[in-house]
């Protein structure tokens, strides 16, 4: 043990002062009593003639000297070197991925990890600094290099568990930047080790310790949920996984638009996964919800949601004199409601999201998006359509909208004639030939337009696989779904809503939450509050209608659903936390708080002892009662008889009365014996006569 302020030992002068006070004879008041005979007999040691009296070791003296010693010790700030789990500059990486929600360690793995960190914070020394990083898909610094335990505790409480996966590589990269400039840095990773597998074992310039949290708890999960149209019937498909060490029967409920369809049970072997199928479902179904009924340590992966078809359906009008290729390609698009008419019957009436003019352009263009195919020669809103010219070579132009994604232009072999298009400045040429652009697309005044400059019948494009893909891309560009793809997004992924042309305002309603406006301004800001799994409703307000879309947030992460904690982290030279090499051997810890607590106890004892003396002085002698010992003798004890009782009651209770009664009783016994003997003698004497 060492003393941080040894000069404080000078205060130990208080101890001889206390002893001096006890040596000094107290000033006494004089009182004349009838006789000091009994006092002298009882208090032989009170005789004193010198100014100093013999030191009497009283409990009060001992307590005062002890308190003085403890106070001097506290002032000297004693400290001891202890073996501390963390010390110096330490970084704790707290895993905050979905698997940390598992409740196999009550209340949860994340709370257990927080509790462990709180213990480590309590054990921090005065010179220790601690940083905390929450490790999810995007690691965040909870608090950087702080030695304030209150701040550390508050920051720790602010850390939240997520539904994300954990990116250890990024977390270590963040820790490396935090550790820059420090030499004795050490990193402690607390979690279950379910991290994204890096390509190779990570190498970091500081020691990394791994504190494993969690048990190999059984778990089941929904790994996928989708819908499919099979032979005209809508069916739902779910993939269920069993992450336990024994075969399990897993009942799964399926809800279609909130109504229970049926419950199916998947019987899966240990570690196996399988598929369940429900169908046929009502063709108008929009949302599917699958839920595992059984209970286990993790529940966030027990539910899954899916959107049937496109989440937003647009009304499309095809104006053509007959184009079966185009009609077929449009009909297979899941997110449109197609209407068809001929140029003769076309009237600019109705409110369509997309109008496709095939070989025909009306004089008054409708509102909404327009797709021109083989426009007759003339001047239009998109530019000029000239006379037909020969086409020799087809190539990709500027495709910033991704219209040619997965489209193989090399498969087009027959295309000879096309109108010579001169596009407006706001149009981009997506497919070009040396003489003219073949496909142009652009957006103006919240309206999207595209022009295919040739007649589909003059090309083998409709016969190629690229054609339906191109139409799909074009339709999705004209009528974009809220989110790209099938509408299923991993938790905590920022979502940028693709606005429908003409949209004034976009709101997103998370499950159980009020709608949040993400636009205007356009383009819509990224929506970050996607931690909760479930259906997120997207509402787009155009000038005259309200378009409802949705996307689903699902966990679908086998890495997080498999609860068995990892034995090791993919880091070179990482060690488990509980091994001997993890402790910092000589961390200096002050122990004055414990000594101060002991001082408080000493002071309490001193106060109690003093108050007890004070109270005892007030006990009246009349309260001396007789108590019978085990041997049957009488002895005097002090009892808390109230002094306010009358003198008569006291007399009855006094020891003097006890003695009187005792003597009297003995006297009566003797007298009775004498009387009895006298009577007996008299009786004998009378008998003689």
């Amino acid at each position: 043990m060492s003393l941080l302020i040894p000069a404080a030992l000078a205060f130990s002068i208080i101890i001889p002062i206390i002893l001096l006070l006890y040596f000094m004879r107290p000033k006494r008041q004089e009182r004349v009593v009838s006789s000091t005979l009994l006092w002298r007999q009882a208090l032989q040691d009170l005789q004193a003639s010198r100014p100093w009296q013999r030191l009497r070791i009283t409990p009060l003296l001992l307590l005062q000297v002890l308190a003085a010693i403890v106070i001097v010790l506290v002032l000297a700030r004693p400290a001891i070197f202890i073996r501390s789990p963390i010390g110096g500059n330490a970084i704790i990486i707290l895993q905050a991925s979905a698997s940390m929600q598992a409740t196999d360690v009550p209340p949860s793995r994340f709370e257990e990890a927080r509790s462990l960190i709180a213990d480590l914070i309590d054990g921090l020394g005065p010179g220790d600094h601690l940083s905390i990083i929450a490790m999810a898909r995007t690691p965040q610094i909870v608090i950087a290099s702080s030695s304030d335990k209150n701040q550390l505790t508050a920051a720790l409480q602010s850390a939240k568990v997520t539904n994300q996966d954990a990116d250890l590589e990024q977390a270590l990269s963040l820790a490396t930047s935090l550790a820059a400039g420090h030499t004795d840095e050490q990193v402690l990773v607390i979690g279950d080790g379910h991290v994204l597998s890096p390509d190779q074992v990570l190498v970091v310039p500081f020691p990394v310790h791994y504190l494993q949290v969690g048990t190999d708890a059984p778990n089941v999960a929904v790994l996928a949920l989708a819908s499919q149209s099979i032979q005209g019937h809508l069916v739902a498909l779910a993939q269920i996984a069993n992450y336990s060490h024994q075969q399990r029967s897993i009942p799964v409920e399926l809800y279609a638009d909130g109504k229970l369809v049926s419950v199916q049970t998947a019987v899966l072997a240990a570690g196996a996964s399988g598929a369940l199928q429900w169908g046929p479902l009502p063709p108008t179904t929009r949302f599917l919800h699958a839920r595992i009924i059984s209970q286990d340590a993790m529940t966030v992966d027990h539910e899954a949601w899916a959107i049937v078809g496109g989440s937003m359906h647009g009304r499309v009008l095809l104006v053509t004199r007959g184009n079966s290729f185009l009609e077929t390609a449009l009909r297979i698009q899941p997110n449109i409601d197609l209407l068809e008419t001929t140029p003769d019957k076309y009237v600019n009436a109705g409110n369509f999201d997309l109008t496709v003019f095939d070989g025909f352009v009306p004089s008054n263009l409708p509102a909404g998006n327009i797709f021109f195919i083989d426009p007759p020669a003339g001047f239009y809103i998109f530019g000029k359509s000239g006379s037909e010219i020969n086409i020799s070579h087809i190539s990709m132009g500027s495709d910033s909208q991704g219209l040619l994604s997965q489209v193989d232009l090399s498969s087009i072999h027959v295309l000879h004639i096309s109108h010579q298009i001169t596009p407006a400045s706001w149009m981009q040429s997506v497919i070009v030939a040396p003489a003219t652009p073949l496909l142009i697309a652009g957006e103006k005044d919240n309206r999207r337009m595209a022009v295919l400059s040739f007649n589909l019948h003059d090309s083998d494009l409709p016969l190629q696989p690229a054609f339906p893909i191109l139409i799909y891309n074009l339709v999705n560009w004209f009528l974009p779904p809220p989110v790209p793809g099938n509408g299923q997004i991993a938790p905590d992924t920022p979502v940028t809503i693709q606005a429908w042309p003409g949209t004034d305002r976009i709101t997103i309603a998370a499950p159980g939450q009020q709608p949040v406006t993400v636009a205007p301004p356009f383009p819509a800001t990224a929506f970050n509050q996607t931690n909760e799994t479930g259906i997120y409703y997207v509402t787009q307000y155009t000038r005259d209608q309200q378009l409802n879309g949705a996307f689903a947030i699902n966990l679908f992460d086998p890495l997080q659903s498999r609860l068995a904690p990892a034995a090791l982290l993919p880091i070179a030279h990482s060690t488990p936390f509980d091994s001997g090499g993890t402790t910092v051997p000589r961390a200096l810890r002050e122990i004055w708080p414990w000594i101060a607590a002991f001082l408080l106890l000493v002071l309490c004892a001193e106060w109690w002892f003093f108050s007890r003396n004070y109270t005892m002085r007030g006990v009246p002698a009349g309260a001396i009662n007789r108590a019978h010992t085990d041997r049957g003798r009488d002895k005097l004890v002090l009892s808390p008889v109230l002094r306010n009782e009358g003198a008569a009651k006291y007399r009855a209770a006094t020891a003097i009365a006890t003695i009187q009664n005792q003597v009297l009783a003995q006297y009566r016994v003797i007298r009775k014996r004498v009387t009895r003997m006298t009577k007996r003698l008299k009786g004998k004497r009378n008998a003689k006569f």
Binding site: Q29, S34, S35, L46, R617, A621, Q660, V663, Y667
Partner: protein, 299 residues
């Protein structure tokens, strides 16, 4: 006229005296004082109380022969009757300085008790001797017997000396100059004598006295009301002590007081004496009618 005189000179008022009229002093055994009176004597006498038969011997009084017994047994028996005699009650009051302390003072209760016992004795036609004890038998008076003697007792009690140190042994030894016949001696004192009391009381017993010890202690001696540090000075100059009033000190005093009283009670019991401890704040009627009855000094 007599009433005015008693109020002025006798320590007790008429009401108290009236209550004492029903009481009488009792002794443990009959005594042969040789003074005819009302009390039973161990000797045969001429009272009307039949005591026993005994055989006739020549010289006996013929008038005492029981002729009916002779008719039945053809032997001569004399009828023996009990004798009745009076008693001399000696009341000794400690008048040292230590008896002047206490609230109320021990001496005032001692005088009242002495007056009451003297009245009871005189009422029963017993003789009364009163004496004042300090370091010697400081004063004494043989008051005689009969109610008229209460004035002499009252006068003596009103003029008791109130000073001096305590030497019970010497003072009680002086009693042999005063007491010549068997009787009852009642010592009223606090018995806090540095030299002890045993020798003196044994000397009184040698005078064929039946002894009663009435110890009077002040309430602040039974229950010292001391807080803090005190310098206690003896009222009779027997020295002083310094005490710090702690529970341990007070408890030691209580134990010493108890031991002292037990020692006195044991001494009394061993010598067939009567002992009673009376706090000085006890009312006189309570003392006489309850405490002294309990220890069977009066009935």
């Amino acid at each position: 006229m007599a009433n005015e005189s008693s109020t002025a000179r006798f320590p007790l008022d008429a009401d108290t005296l009236q209550r004492l009229d029903t009481l009488a002093l009792i002794t443990r055994k009959a005594m042969a004082t040789g003074q005819p009176g009302r009390r039973r004597s161990p000797l045969a006498g001429s009272s009307t109380e039949f005591a026993d038969y005994r055989r006739y011997t020549p010289g006996d009084d013929f008038r005492r022969i029981d002729w009916r017994a002779y008719a039945r047994l053809e032997r001569l028996f004399l009828r023996v009757f009990e004798a009745e005699e009076n008693l001399t009650v000696t009341l000794l009051i400690d008048c040292s300085d230590s008896m002047q302390h206490g609230n109320p003072s021990k001496s005032s209760l001692a005088i009242s008790i002495a007056a009451a016992l003297a009245y009871i004795a005189l009422k029963c036609e017993d003789g009364v001797i009163v004496g004042a004890l300090t370091d010697r038998l400081a004063a004494q008076r043989r008051a005689g017997s009969g109610k008229h003697a209460i004035w002499a007792v009252g006068e003596f009690l009103s003029r008791l000396p109130h000073s001096g140190t305590t030497d019970l042994n010497r003072a009680l030894y002086d009693l042999n100059r005063l007491v010549v016949s068997p009787g009852l001696t009642i010592v009223i004192s606090d018995f806090l004598a540095p030299g002890g009391y045993q020798t003196g009381i044994r000397a009184v017993r040698q005078l064929r006295q039946e002894v009663a010890l009435l110890q009077i202690l002040a309430p602040d001696e039974i229950e010292p009301d001391l807080h803090g540090d005190w310098h206690l000075r003896d009222s009779e100059g027997a020295g002083s002590v310094d005490i710090s009033s702690t529970p341990g000190v007070l408890q030691a005093y209580q134990q010493r007081l108890l031991a002292f009283m037990q020692e006195l009670a044991s001494f009394a019991h061993a010598h067939a004496m009567t002992y009673a401890m009376i706090p000085s704040n006890t009312a006189l009627t309570d003392v006489v009618q309850r405490l002294l009855r309990q220890v069977e000094i009066v009935k």
